[in-house]
Amino acid sequence: MSKTVAEHSVSYVQVLDENGKVTNKDLVPDLKDEQLRELMSRMVFTRILDQRAIKLTRQGRLGFYAPVAGQEASMIGSEFATTKEDFIVPGYRDLPQCVYHGYPLEKLFLYSRGHQEGGRVPEDVNVMMPQIIIGAQIVQTPGIALAFKLRGEKRVAVTYTGDGGTSQGDFYEGMNFAGAMQLPAVFFVQNNQYAISVPREKQTAAETLAQKAIAAGIRGVQVDGMDILGVYTVMHEAVERARNGEGPTMIEAVTFRYGPHTMSGDDPTRYRTKETESTWEKRDPLIRFRTYLEEKGLWSQEEEEKVIEQAKDTITEALKKADSAAKMKLTDLIDVMFEEPTIELKRQRAEITGEGAN
């Protein structure tokens, strides 16, 4: 005998097309004009931050940096659907979400430079330090979500990874835990087409990344990741469902990164063509949302200039703060290994300072 015991499908969501035209009226999110402007401002800020960060890395004024241009709609739109009480568990590229969730910009600059202060997230900011190990944050997210559930808090844990990250065992383990325990978690995948140089088609034979959720028994949705209204809509639904105890969701946002993988020597011309790049640049999230807002009379060239100027000031200010951070000492490292240094660490500390161990 043979019969169908389960059938699944994956839906693709888009609200605004490449020309800024609404393609699905029913899914236009219920946002106030002020909020729509805010979304645009944040995307503009993020683009400027990215350009500035790239320059600063080239000048040696920042350390590790992973460019974000192209992914603004995914990053800004998804974070906008959370509340400050929700917890963000980011990967190394997800700095904009951290910024808008309250992680001070100067601390992110310090993080980039490899300064310990960069990891010291303020007490009232619900963010983890950006993760370097691909997938590690995804198994931690159910733990955070379980804490919310156990305490009866209506909070959601949101984690981010890339298309490459979906190949890790941890990706599946995390989703499976969240599904099995019905936790308030959202797994947000930014499919920017490449894991360093490996294209999405070589990453997996799966037709979509969103369908990976099906194996874990959780919802999987694909969204146009360059359409900020689409991203916001699916994320808002996912976060609200999670908050109301309706279980976790995995979202695949289909997007593109314009720049190199990181500023540490990656050369995208080795693995993608100009045509590919220009195809994606035509779908740019800023252009299409700007068109949409301008047609509604909610955005102008002037307004954008203002945001750009403010962004530059904010970034300069944060850099100044980062520059004035106290220099790290070797003993600072020793002091945070444990709540109390061990005998051997005390001895090693004394060796460094030239003082006697006590």
């Binding site: 931690q140 955070i144 995390g174 099995a180 709540e339």
Partner: protein
């Protein structure tokens, strides 16, 4: 006072701590309903509910990742790795995540997680169940490694481990789980982490050891006293990271000679670290090089030959004879 096996002492410690601190959670594969494959969590789910003591999906990285996330949110998770040979599946979450959390966050987050796991040979398990992998974690900064050798110690050390604000790997030797009973007080007591215990006094040689090798070393010392009339002092480290070099040094100042006995393969393990620390601290009190009595550097062997592979009292006596003849 009740006579308890080590497994009963462990259950009692978990019970006490679950009752005392509602932030404590026990979980892992088969930990909830079934009470663990060794019954360490027997009855605890019934008593504390499925929210506090629960079964997880079968995924070690997921289990330790869950603990990490819970710790960030202020809980004190006590996850179980069903057999320590499976720890490789969770290595990233332990070594790169939990052990580094305080460091990476500049002290903002900490991981008061106690990872419990059965380990150790002589019980004829299938492959990759018995391996002594504790040495891997000695090289991992930011995590403590505790290995009790008696029921009394197991309870007191486990209570300390759970209350410690740093991550602890708590290794329970399978052969000790039910091999003997000991008087264990019912009340709450702790044994400090990082403090060794001198379990047999002697003036001729110091034996430094831990886990199941404590008992084997005590037997060897008794036999040696009978054969040779010489007295070996036996130190049970209780915690192998950090190592209590003070207690070791005091003993060596008295005996002038030492051997390290471990169940793990020889190269680059706890024994090697102990020898190095002895060199750095009390070399001028030594009358002979410090020797290591260990199994060879092979993979943990198949059941039929494990008794030959593991250090025996006679094997340790030979090492004692050797170090006193140098």
């Amino acid at each position: 006072m009740a006579q308890l096996t080590m497994i009963q002492a462990i259950t009692q410690a978990l019970d006490l701590e679950l009752a005392r601190d509602e932030k404590v959670l026990c979980f892992g594969e088969d930990v909830g309903h079934n009470g663990g494959v060794f019954r360490a969590t027997e009855g605890l789910q019934k008593k504390y509910g499925e929210q506090r003591v629960f079964d997880t999906p079968l995924a070690e990285s997921g289990i330790i990742g869950l603990a990490n996330g819970l710790a960030v949110q202020g809980f004190r998770p006590v996850p179980e790795i069903q057999f320590f040979g499976f720890v490789f599946e969770a290595f990233d979450q332990i070594a790169s995540q939990i052990a580094r959390l305080r460091y990476r966050s500049g002290g903002r987050y900490s991981a008061p997680v106690t990872i419990r796991s059965p380990f150790g040979g002589g019980v004829r398990t299938p492959e990759l169940h018995s391996d002594s992998l504790e040495g891997l974690f000695l090289q991992t900064p930011g995590i403590k490694v505790v290995i009790p050798s008696t029921p009394y110690d197991a309870k007191g050390l486990l209570l300390s481990a759970i209350r410690d604000n740093d991550p602890v790997i708590f290794l329970e030797h399978m052969r000790l789980y039910r091999s003997f009973r000991q008087e264990v007080p019912e009340d709450d007591y702790t044994i400090p982490l990082g403090k060794a215990n001198v379990v047999r006094e002697g003036k001729d040689v110091t034996i430094i050891t831990y886990g199941a090798m404590v008992g084997v070393s005590q037997k060897a010392a008794d036999q040696w006293a009978k054969d040779k009339g010489l007295e070996a002092e036996v130190i049970d480290l209780r915690t192998i990271s950090p190592i209590d070099i003070e207690t070791i040094s005091e003993s060596i100042k008295k005996t002038g000679r030492a051997i390290v006995v471990q169940e793990a393969q020889r190269t680059a393990g706890a024994g090697a670290e102990i020898v190095a620390q002895i060199n750095e601290n009390v070399i001028f009190h030594l009358e002979a090089p410090v020797l290591r009595a260990t199994p060879p550097d092979t993979v943990y062997p198949y059941g039929l030959i494990e008794d030959e592979w593991l250090p025996t009292p006679q094997f340790i006596v030979d090492a004692l004879n050797k170090v006193t003849s140098l």
